[in-house]
Amino acid sequence: MNLHAIRAIYLFEMARTRRTLVQSIVAPVLSTALYFVVFGAAIGGRISEVEGVPYGSFIVPGLIMLSLLTQSISNASFGIYFPRFTGTIYEVLSAPVSAAEIVIGYVGAAATKSIMLGLIILLTAAFIVPLRIDHPLVMLLFLVLTAVTFSLLGFIIGIWADGFEQLQLVPLLVVTPLTFLGGSFYSVDMLPPGWRTVALFNPVVYLVSGFRWSFFGIADVNPAISIGATLGFLAICLGLVAWIFRTGYRLKK
C-alpha cells in the first residue's frame, strides 16, 4: 500500500476545499437555509406535521441528503475531471499507485468534505427547528455510506465526462430530479398508490427514508432494506470503478 500517495492525494484535495471554502461550504449551507425558509416556514404553515413530526423538522434529513448527494457528486467528479482537463493526470497515471489508492485518495477527500457539510447543515438546522436524533449511530452510518457511495458515483462521472457540460449533465438531469422526487419534502405515504410503487424504484427514497428513520423513528421503507439498498448501490459503483481501472477507460489511450 502506497500510503504516502493516498495521503498526498487526500491532502491535495482537502487543500482545494480550503481554498474554495465559500463555494464548497458556505454556498450549500446558504441554499439549504433558504429551503428551510421556503418549505419550512411558508409551506410548513399549511402542513403542520407529518406522522407526528413538525414539518420543519420532518424535512431536515431530506435536505441534508439532498446536499450530501449533490455535493458528493460535484466534489468528486470535479476532483478527478479537472486533472484530466488540464492534463496533470499524467502524473497520477505514471505514479506507482494502484487504482484502489487513487480512489481512496480522491473519493475519501470528497466524502470527507460532504460529511463535514452534512454535519454543518445539521447544526444550522438545529438552530432553526426543533430536532431530535433517535439513532445517532445509524444516522452517522447513513451519512458516511451515502457520502462515500455518491462520491464514487461522482468519480465515475468525472472520468466519463468529456467536457464541463457533461460533468453537469448527470447531476442536473438525473440526480436532482431523483432527490426532489425521493421524498425529501414529503413522505412517500402521501403519494397516490400508483406513484408510491414508482417511487420505490428511486434509490434516493431508500436513503432519505432510512436517514429520516435514524432521526425520528419513522420510515417509508424498512431501515434494514434502506441500508441494504445503499450497500447494493455502493457495490455497483465499486464494480464500475474497478472496471474503469482495469480497462483504462477514458484514462489511458
Binding site: H4, L11, G87, S98, K252
Partner: protein, 321 residues
Amino acid sequence: MTAATFWPPDRALMHAAIEVSALEKTYASGFTALKPLDLAIRRGEIFALLGPNGAGKTTLISIICGIVNPSAGRVLVEGHDILLEPRKTRSLIGLVPQELTTDAFETVWDTVSFSRGLFGKRADPAHIERVLRDLSLWEKRDSKILSLSGGMKRRVLIAKALSHEPQILFLDEPTAGVDVELRRDMWSLVRRLRDEGVTIILTTHYIQEAEEMADRVGVINRGELILVEEKAELMRKLGRKRLVLQLQERLAAIPPSVARENLELAGGGAELVYTYDAKAGRTGITALLGDLAAAGIRFTDLRTEQSSLEDIFVDLVRRAA
C-alpha cells in the same frame, strides 16, 4: 579460473536501464504510432531520441512511464516488467512531459511535495529545498503556479519529476519554447544528474541539443527506430568534409596519376569530389592539388562542404519515408 571471475559482476553489464523489445502501439483510431521497436538504454547514459513531430517519441515514453497501454511487446525497467511490476518500475522513473501541464492554484512548494508523496516517498523538506534551489525556484516556492512564466512552469515540472529521486529521467522536448538561460541551466543540471548516476532520456527535434548533450542518439520516424548510434560515431561522420573542384574541362575518367581513395568524378565529369576527415592530422589536400597540377588538370573554382547531423537526419528520414 581467470581473473575476471573474481570481479563482482558489473550491474551495468547485467541488464540495461531500459529494455524495449518488439514494442508496438496502435491507437483506437487505427493510427499506428509504433511499429515493432527494440531499444536498450544503458544505465547512466544520456540518450537523445530524435525525430520529427508525430514520429512516436512521446508514445514510446508514455508507454514506458505507464500512461499509454502498449498493443504488444515488452518493456523492462532495471530488469522489471512495466506491466507485471508497475509499482517497482514507476517509482524508478521521473517524467517531465512535453506540455506545460501544471496545477494552477497550488504553490510551487505544495505541488512538488505532492509529487514526492505520490511516488511513495516519505516527506523530505531538505530534498525538496535542494531541488528547488537547483532549479532557481526557491524564491518562488510560495507563489501560485498560475502566476509563473512559461519557463518557470517548465522548471516546476522538472522539480516535480526530481522530487522523488528517480534513477531514470525522461525529458520530453525539455527545451521547446525555453529561453537561453533556462536551456543552459537545464543542461548543467542534466550533466550533474548524469554524474550522480541518473539515466537520462530526452526527446528533441533540435539536433544541436542532441549534439551538445547526448552520449548516444536514436532517430525515430513514423514509429520506426531508424538509427541508434554513439554520438562520437555520428560526430565522426559529421567531421567528414567534401572538397568540390569545378574543372575547366570535363574529364572522361580520373587519370591514374591522380586517382586515389575518396576521390570521385561527379557532375558528368565537370567536378572532382574529394571526401576527407577534417579532424585528421593529414587531410591529403595538398598532395591532391599537387598531383592535379602535375597532371595538368585545371580548375575554375573550388568549395568545401560539411555534412551536418541535420543532413544525416534529414537524409535518413527522407529515405525511410
